[in-house]
Symmetry: C2
């Protein structure tokens, strides 16, 4: 399950992407329009999305996941530079709530539940979810890929959804049926370091011969394989933009740790997971 479940952050990322504006500017505009609160922390730091990720995981795997157990990264570190590179590479950046089964079986699943910004291919159905809209993308064993899309906020849509739930609850009370949300599995959390996906990294380095070799060596030492690299000169500095093949999260974090220790590395900018790359879509 991958969801765009927070309208405020999706509005901010969509506007940054389509208007080419920076985070602070768009956040201020979102506050002016009433899409973001004066204190935007609950939205932009992913607290709200983490609570919804816990609900999605609980429903998907019929277990009991709590919001405070969901690791989260917000969108405040996403820059217009990363959004522009993503677009150039054929991707969009979205804040995702992810819940996936990584092992075990239905009665004792091992799951990963988390919230973070990620790059999705422009052709992914979630990439078309713009502004304050929400959507949940589900990949089922037999049913394949499914998506549910709708307005994530607003008086009437919320009233419609709440009323639908109340009617379902009344039906269940009336018929003595328990509903379908009761937990009945015991889930184990997958260690974050063992998660595997492709990564985008944006690294500013001193522009002199041998620097790329030094950087690439660090990737190699941690078995992180590079899928593509682009180099942009910027005066005395150069910017290196990497896409990796699928790699273990722990190995990518160790790579970043060692890169920071290199004296030719000036700054590590965007570090983003790349999800949803499939041939058949």
């Amino acid at each position: 399950v991958m969801g765009i479940v927070n309208g405020t952050t999706n509005f901010i990322l969509t506007t940054m992407s389509e208007a080419g504006l920076g985070y602070d500017e768009v956040l201020a505009e979102a506050q002016r329009l009433g899409y973001a609160e004066r204190d935007p922390t609950a939205d932009v730091d992913g607290h709200d999305a983490a609570a919804k990720a816990a609900i999605l995981a609980s429903l998907a795997f019929r277990c009991d996941v709590r919001a405070e157990d969901v690791p989260r990264e917000g969108i405040s570190a996403v820059t217009e530079v990363d959004i522009a590179f993503a677009a150039q590479l054929g991707y969009v950046i979205k804040l995702l709530a992810v819940a996936e089964r990584t092992g075990g079986d239905e009665s004792a699943p091992e799951i990963s539940v988390r919230v973070h910004p990620a790059m999705l291919p422009r052709t992914h159905p979630l990439a078309a979810v713009r502004g304050a809209f929400n959507a949940v993308f589900v990949e089922g064993g037999s049913a394949g890929e499914l998506m549910l899309y709708g307005r994530g906020a607003g008086g009437l849509p919320t009233a419609s959804a709440v009323l639908g739930d109340v009617i379902d609850a009344a039906h269940n009370l009336d018929r003595g049926t328990p509903g379908r949300a009761a937990p009945r599995a015991e889930a184990r959390m997958h260690p974050a370091d063992d998660l595997r996906c492709a990564w985008y990294l944006n690294i500013d380095v001193v522009d002199r011969p041998g620097v790329l070799a030094a950087v690439a060596t660090v990737f190699g030492e941690h078995r992180v394989s590079i899928r593509s690299m682009e180099q942009l000169g910027m005066g005395d500095e150069a910017r290196l933009v990497f896409l990796t093949h699928v790699a273990r999260q722990g190995d990518v974090m160790a790579t970043i740790h060692d890169l920071r220790a290199l004296d030719v590395v000036e700054h590590i900018g965007g570090v983003l997971r790349v999800l949803g790359d499939e041939e058949d879509r």
Copy 2:
């Protein structure tokens, strides 16, 4: 309700659009891959989509609509030229099953049910439904815009959907509940000529002074207002590509009839409805 409900035609239109190929070539490829049957009529002429439009309308408005009462246009007249113009104007072409309430009330709705290719803005959620995928876009009074997306064919997804229906039917039998699909409204069909939407027209004319004025006069006589026009020279001929403002279907058909009678008009190519243009998406 607007749906992309036929995987074969969506595969053909997506491939024409993304590979820049012609209809015949892509149909042959679809047949080779098993996406289209040897006799593709049921798909490409919209028979299958019309049957599904009838089901969608019956569910949405709780009335009894039959496939043979659904007017349909297929995709065999859609050309790579129209697809390229659509892309240039920010649209994609999709075969849509449409069911909408045009008047009346819940117990006696006036509805329009139909199947035809249409231009949708690239930013519309249905525009992202590619290849053999299906989706149904619903606009509700309170709930706003909703979309359901999934695989439209294949052994396992079909088995999963059928089994879900069988389980629901068993629940209904078990509890003595009638399900939600029983018709209880009497629907009246909206006259097609009175339908209103924007239109795309692609007209080849003799390239000489005064031709545009002659063509525009015909539009004006039928109260069809032109939103934009683009002219492309092609030797002795010129191609005029029009987008209209929202116009009555009967007036657009009368315009086309009179245009064909002009001796400066060589050929009327694509004529497509333009749907889904909204500010707020």
